[in-house]
Subunit: 317 residues, 2 copies
């Protein structure tokens, strides 16, 4: 903090992957003075080739480090794929695509975890090395995994459903294995309770924010926070990206901005939805939630920054 200048707002963002990462880029641009803490979803973490992969943490990390491949939507810019080709030649699994540069992150993380260092600490080390402009906290140091029970009675890891099977299986049930026994990671509850505003990023409510909010103590903490703003991941009845609509239906939420506002109404009093869904605003107001209208499609950094400005207005900071 510079001398004589008041500190910026303390903002805590509950975050999934791509949508959250783009939003965070906009938020950092809109309020560079803010102290931003990101609570990242780890329920889609998976072991591949013996390595611990944290896809959502990495997406946030790479994006905020300016190293993400924004066009492909995941992984690093200028990535190469030699290890993957060689692994497939050895008959190893190739469905979860790990780039060569990306491997360094996973190797580094996995070795530290094997030495007994908790994920929260390893993540802080990586964030420091990548010079992130935010504090990045994994939601928990324990293992919590989003699993999909399919219509044909298979029990899939979320990445098997999402990547390997391209979201094709019918979803019968979604559950967060291990969540009842897990504790929020170090600093998570404190960051929520002490924030000037908590922001629920435009991430998949079931796959990304659901596991965070399901951790013991998190939902009550958000509820009692100074102010909580949710940003819709649904525009005109469709997910901006990914399988949110099918997943929302599976958990009994209406797959609209109104449905998401209703699902979050116990903890978020402010809801930012897209202008294209203007007609849903009165219904959201009727829920006791204050609607804020803006263009929520983050087609580029200026657009993400404009969305962040509306969110900051809704947050009153």
């Amino acid at each position: 903090m510079e001398r004589g200048r008041p500190p910026g707002p303390r903002l805590t963002v509950l975050a999934g992957g791509v949508g959250a990462a783009r939003f965070l880029r906009g938020l950092v641009a809109a309020r560079p003075d803010a102290e931003i803490t990101v609570v990242g979803n780890t329920a889609d973490d998976i072991e591949v080739w013996g390595l611990h992969i944290s896809p959502d943490l990495d997406t946030v990390m790479y994006t905020l480090a300016g190293r993400a491949d924004l066009e492909r939507g995941w992984g690093l810019a200028g990535e190469t794929w030699s290890a993957l080709c060689a692994m497939e030649q050895l008959g190893g699994p190739g469905w979860f695509q790990l780039g060569d540069q990306d491997l360094a992150t996973h190797l580094w993380r996995t070795e530290r975890l094997r030495r007994g260092v908790p994920l929260s600490r390893v993540t802080a080390e990586l964030a420091e090395r990548l010079r992130l402009p935010v504090r990045l906290l994994p939601m928990t140091d324990q293992r919590v995994t989003t699993r999909i029970r399919t219509g044909d009675h298979r029990d899939l890891h979320i990445q098997e459903y999402f990547v390997r099977e391209r979201c094709e299986p019918e979803i019968a049930q979604v559950h967060y294995a291990g969540v009842e026994r897990a504790r929020p990671g170090p600093g998570v509850l404190h960051a929520i309770e002490g924030a000037d505003a908590v922001i629920l990023a435009p991430s998949n409510p079931v796959m990304s924010l659901g596991p965070i909010l399901a951790l013991p103590g998190v939902r009550p903490a958000v509820r009692s926070a100074a102010r909580a703003v949710a940003v819709t991941p649904i525009v005109a009845g469709a997910a901006i990206k990914g399988p949110a609509v099918a997943m929302l239906r599976a958990v009994g939420w209406e797959p609209t901005a109104e449905g998401v506002a209703a699902g979050y109404q116990d903890c978020a009093t402010q809801f930012v939805l897209d202008e294209r869904d203007r007609r849903l605003a009165p219904a959201i107001t009727a829920l006791g939630v204050q609607p804020w209208l803006t263009d929520t499609l983050m087609v580029d950094l200026p657009a993400a920054r404009r969305l962040a400005e509306t969110v900051l207005e809704a947050a009153g900071v």
Copy 2:
């Protein structure tokens, strides 16, 4: 074996890295009908980035699979280095250079080992996938490590001495940590005892073949083999490659073909040395060892094949 055709000789080769790999390429070319078993040194295995690296096994594997970078002398042809660059950016160790394609082998091996599969089995699986024309056996499934005590009282892993410190430290002592408690790997003693000839490849006698011969039971097995032929790794008082001269001095062997023949005289009755060392032949004969003269410099595959032909002649097969 084809019908009506006698099987080729059973040859068992004790092997280190590059020199052995080149020799083996020549041997396969010279006697494609031979049943070749390679007993590979694993005492320079090392853990890097949490991965189990077996440099000598891999050099043999990659060379015999036709995938080695023969010009660089190690690693794979067409290799890329993205993971290494990214690892160095994260502040990870970069002194042991792992290429991106190479990583697939190490990831694959490490995951199998972590699942409790012994190195011998993992090596057989890799050899099968790479369609090796030989059977490749790690010398042991236990951990044996060549360590260098330096003149300034440091205790270095052989790779730290060899790669990280470029063979610069003065060597006070060489020892094979763990060798007294280790057992030869499955099939190793049987392959030596049942061979028509055992061949000690032109590898570093201290760093590469020393650990194999130091395993309980191996030296007596070679001694009682039908015939054993050693190939010099020293030409005109200099190592063809690597730090053999300094290491031989450290263990009290004279760093010449004669010195190596003397060191092996208890187990190898035949010794192939370079024509440039013709003057040493009488001294070798005086040791009770039969000398065979040829050009031992394997500048290309035909040269390696010619060396192998002399070795086969010395082996009487």
